[in-house]
Structure formats: structure tokens, C-alpha cells
Symmetry: C2
Subunit: 337 residues, 2 copies
Amino acid sequence: MERKVSLKDIAQKVGVSTALVSYVLNNKRENRVSKELAQRIREVAAGMNYRINQVARSLKTNKTFTIGLIVSDIANPFFSALARIIEDEAEQHQYTVIFSSSDENAAKNGKLIDTLLDRQVDGLILSPPAFCEDQVIRLQQQQVPFVLVDRYFPDLKTNYVALDNYGAAFKAVEHLIESGCKRIGMLTYDTELFHLQERKRGYVAALKQHKLPATKSLLKEVNIRVEQPAIEKAIHQLLSGPEPVDGLLFAANNLALAGLRYIRTLPVHIPRDLRIVNFDETEALDFYPAPFAYIQQPLGELGRLATRLLLESINQRPATTQINLDGQLVLKSPMPF
Amino acid sequence: MERKVSLKDIAQKVGVSTALVSYVLNNKRENRVSKELAQRIREVAAGMNYRINQVARSLKTNKTFTIGLIVSDIANPFFSALARIIEDEAEQHQYTVIFSSSDENAAKNGKLIDTLLDRQVDGLILSPPAFCEDQVIRLQQQQVPFVLVDRYFPDLKTNYVALDNYGAAFKAVEHLIESGCKRIGMLTYDTELFHLQERKRGYVAALKQHKLPATKSLLKEVNIRVEQPAIEKAIHQLLSGPEPVDGLLFAANNLALAGLRYIRTLPVHIPRDLRIVNFDETEALDFYPAPFAYIQQPLGELGRLATRLLLESINQRPATTQINLDGQLVLKSPMPF
DNA sequence: TTAAGTCGGTTAAACGTTTAACCAAATATT
DNA sequence: AATATTTGGTTAAACGTTTAACCGACTTAA
């Protein structure tokens, strides 16, 4: 790249100091500089196609107007939709966003945080994998502005914006109960991730409150990395035996996708034999040939609130804010309607 | 954020010059510095949790190790998948990526380019909207390293990595012909976007080569912003009248989605009455209850090649490289298999 | 008449790195 | 013994901004 035009170049051409050029171009000290000269400087700047060097400015001002976003996988529609919302909200405030994917890997997450901080981002939006408490605590110690989104750690007093996962799961199970289900199973990941723990807790609580069985055999947990075979096995177990489940809650959209794909091949009729509730909307089920319900996350609010919270946190340093949004239960009939 | 540890702090603690600390931490002039002192410096740096200030380094070295990515919408699964691949490839080379969404809007695209350049990105990966030739030309003049991906401008001699859209459409139509279709329609966007023009060209060429009708009434174009109603109308026209189409090519995944959604409500049997080919894989059709074919883009290669090309372009300045990859025709039966 | 503002700028330091150029002391070469 | 080279560092400038502090020339007010 050819060398770019700098303040100094403009200053030389106009015959003033670089300081003055800086003042004019930043509209500072407007009263202290003559209209004509200001005009002249602006013209020359435009004429030379001047563009500020943000890196230099950042070094001086200690502000990059950049936020770092770390999600588990930007290719996951949930996170890319979230990213888009964050991008828009950030853009409105002249912020730019750097993203990276942690792959649910704590070590990688740590490296990404470091990389972003090395680049002097003004703050972070994180959807942390399990076992990252220490990293988050370090951020607090270093007083880095950040907000967790979607995931958070119950023991840590941090900013976060997330779903009320307990309540959403509770609501989901109640829906199944109201629909007449007596034996309600759940398929979730075998993970420490707090939001999934909460969903489990909500599931169990709803069953207990309605005096329905909440045994170990109704709750299946599969490893977050392994996929189809383990899922099929778990579902098979839930649906076989003397007392098969007549209601099933999937704790995550990937699980629902794999699970429903399998169930489709079984001689099980939905909703006669089995009713389903998923977490998260997923396009992939748009044409699923049976009705089911799902918990819809308020994605827009999640992203917008997280971003605003972060910007506030960067510009002032207010009390930490913790937000749990309600999920909405949506019923979906097979298309066409 | 508390003030961070700088080279100077380390230098002071060890009792050497900042230059030496810089040399040691960057492993430069290794022979010119004593083992013990180097060791000491490293220890102190680690002990103080030193982290380099990339902004300062960038100012000095004129290199940010950052690339800018502009797509039309990061929430679009096609682009988020691409973004993920680019991220991974970039990360392997210590690069970080800033993304933004242009919304197919040329003016916005221009602003985004400027913002990214202000931030001194080392290069750009762009999937430009229509009417951006001027912006691309400016990039060339300014000698900014960049590569276009997915989209490109036929008249501009720029780096790009894209599908052979002509060939892919040709292949798609030939598939329909081989399957026995006699009247093959196409639904596309009414746009200047070159890649869509190419798909149209491939469609027409295949029909002509096989002596099939390629009339205006078989080719429907809808505005890229308007959606469902216009699409339904177009499809209705194609399927009604004395000679309805028996084969249909959708030029983009959004069109296919909307179109198939509508077709599903019609008394038209797929594939008996109508055979379908789409562009791009889309999860949303995973459970579509009828068979269809689609052109699968080699997303991984697209992303990887684009990134590598850009990095080469940043580090050396080679001849411009233009790559057209082949799409693959994939047949899809309704699930379960 | 003098002190105090105001006007319209300039000077210079600083942000945290990198890196070419320099230097003194020790060692090697003739 | 005189000269050259190596060793192990230091100095200082530079990257492109921002911004507090300063300054001389006018104006205004007492």
C-alpha cells in the first residue's frame, strides 16, 4: 500500500501546524479557529483524500472503538444471528467488532481473550465454554469491560444477558403436561455449562411440582462432542421398555435436530405417541413433517442488551447488570398450515 | 482498565533499556544478547504479566495482522460458514478478522471499506453487492490487498475466488433434461450481480444446446428485496397456463426456500409433475418432503483459497489470481432415507 | 493608561513499540 | 604492540495522532 496522507501532509500544504489540523478535523476548539482557515483545512484534507489513521489515534487516546466477540462457533446460526445484531448495534456507536470462535474449548477461549486484549479492544462480549471461571475472574481483576451472553456463571458477579433457562424449561414441561403427557423425558448434554444445568433444573422442578415421575432413566445426557449414534441410543432407551416416554424435551437445537431426524425413522407418531419441545428455533426444522413446540429466545434483545451493556460498561462503570430474559413457547404445525 | 505493563516497566525493573527488552521478547538479535540476561528479562516479563500492545506495534510496523471481511449478511448461513472458515485459516497465520455486513447496499459497502481501511487492516475479503465497481477500482488504485469471494466483476482484473456459476447452472439444467424435463423454468433475482447473470447464462445455454425452449416466459425475475408474494406469483405463472414447466431451477437458496414453501401448498407432485434444482445447500430444506437436487458450493475451498490468496497478496505482490471452482450436483431424497 | 481578556494560532510531549546506528570493553588477529 | 573484530549492550528517532500549555497581538474594561 502506498503511504497514506497524514495530518502533517495537510499541515504542510496549508502552512499551519498539525495540531491545528487535528483540532479542525475533530471539530474541537471551534471558536478558537478562524472560519476561513478551518474551511481551507477541510478542503485540503478532502482534496488529498485524507483518512485518519485509527491505529495512531488509538495509541494516543487509548481507545480503539473495537469490541471483541467470542462465541463457540460463528457458523452456528444462533450465534451468527446474534453476531449480526451485535454488529448493527455496535455500528450505531461507531464501534467495530472482531469475532472469534472458541469451539467450546476453554483453552482456546483463553487464547482468544488474550489475542483480543493484545489488540486493545475496548471490551468483550463472551459466550463462554465450560470451565472458564478463572478467565472471567481475571477479566474482572484486570477491570476489562465485558458482558457474558447466553451463558454465564452463577457464582460470579458479572454482567450478563441470558435466557431464564430454568423458567423456559419449566414452561416447556408444563406445556407437555397440559397436553396430557405423563412420562416426560429430557435429552441434554453431559456438561457443566450452567445454562444447560438450569434447563435440567427447570425440567425436574416442573415434573416434581406436578407430581410426575422424575427418575434418572427419563433424563439422558450425551457428550457434547459425540453426535448421532449416542443420541439415537439415548432416544431409543427413552422410547423402549415397558413405559416409554410420551413427552420429550430437547435441551439444545443440535440435539433436537439429530433426535428428530432419528425419530422420523421410527414407528412413533407425533403427537399421538410422543410430544416434543425443543430449545431454540432452527430453520432446519421448517419442514419437519410433524408438529412440535419450541422455546424461542429473544435473540434481538439478547444481542442489543449485551451490546448496550458493554458500551455503558466501557464509558461509565456502573453496577454490574444481570438480565434474564423470558423465552417464549411457540407451537409449530407442519407446513403448509 | 488499569494501565498495562509496558516494555519500559520491564526495562526499569531489570535495569536495562527498553530496546533490549524488545529484542529479547521478539527473539531478535539472539546472538547479541547474553543468555542469562535474556532469561531474566523473560522471567520478569512473565512475572509482570506483560502483554504486548499491538496497537503500538502496528503503528510502528505499519502492520495490524488484521483482515477485514465484508459480506452481505453475516447471519446468512452461507456467509457465516464462510466466515468461520476464513477465521480458522486466518488464525493459523496469526491474523484476526473484523467482519461487517453490507446488506447488498453499495453505499454501505463503501462506508464499511473506509472504516476498515481507517483501522489499517492489512487486507480485505469482500463479497461485494452490485454497483461497487468504482469502490473496487479505488482499492486497486490505492494498492490495497484484497480478494473478492463468491461475487466478482467480470470486467475488473482482480483477485477472486468464486463458483463457476455458468457451469454449475448448465450442469443443473442438464440434470433436469436427463431426468426427462422438457419445459424448464428458472427463478432468479432481477439484479446486476454478476454471479446471478452467469447462472442465467448457463441456464439459457444448456437449454439452447439441447434444443429446448428458452423463452422469456420461462425465466422469472423477482426483486431482491421483495419476497414471498412476488415469488408466489412468479411460480404460479410458471406452473399455470397450457404449458406448465416440468423442471425448475432456483438461482439462490432464499428463492428456493420461499418457492418450495409455496409449491408445497399446491397440488403439484414432485418429482412427477415438477423437478427441482436449487443453488446452495440449506439446512432449512433438510426435511423437505420431496426429492430435489442442488448445487453444492465448495465452501471450504472458497474460504481457504480466498484467505490464502489474500495473505499472499499482503506479503508478496503476485500476479492477480482468478479462481472459479466447480459446483457439485447433489441429489437429495426426502428424509428418512 | 494599564490590566485583563480574547483571538488565533503554535510548541512540544506523549502514547508503546521497533530498529538503525552507535559505543565501550573484551577478544582475536597480524 | 597495534589494529580489527566480536560481544553485549544503549541511544534516539520514528510511526501518526492528541492535547495541555503557551504565546503574541488585539480588544475591552476600569
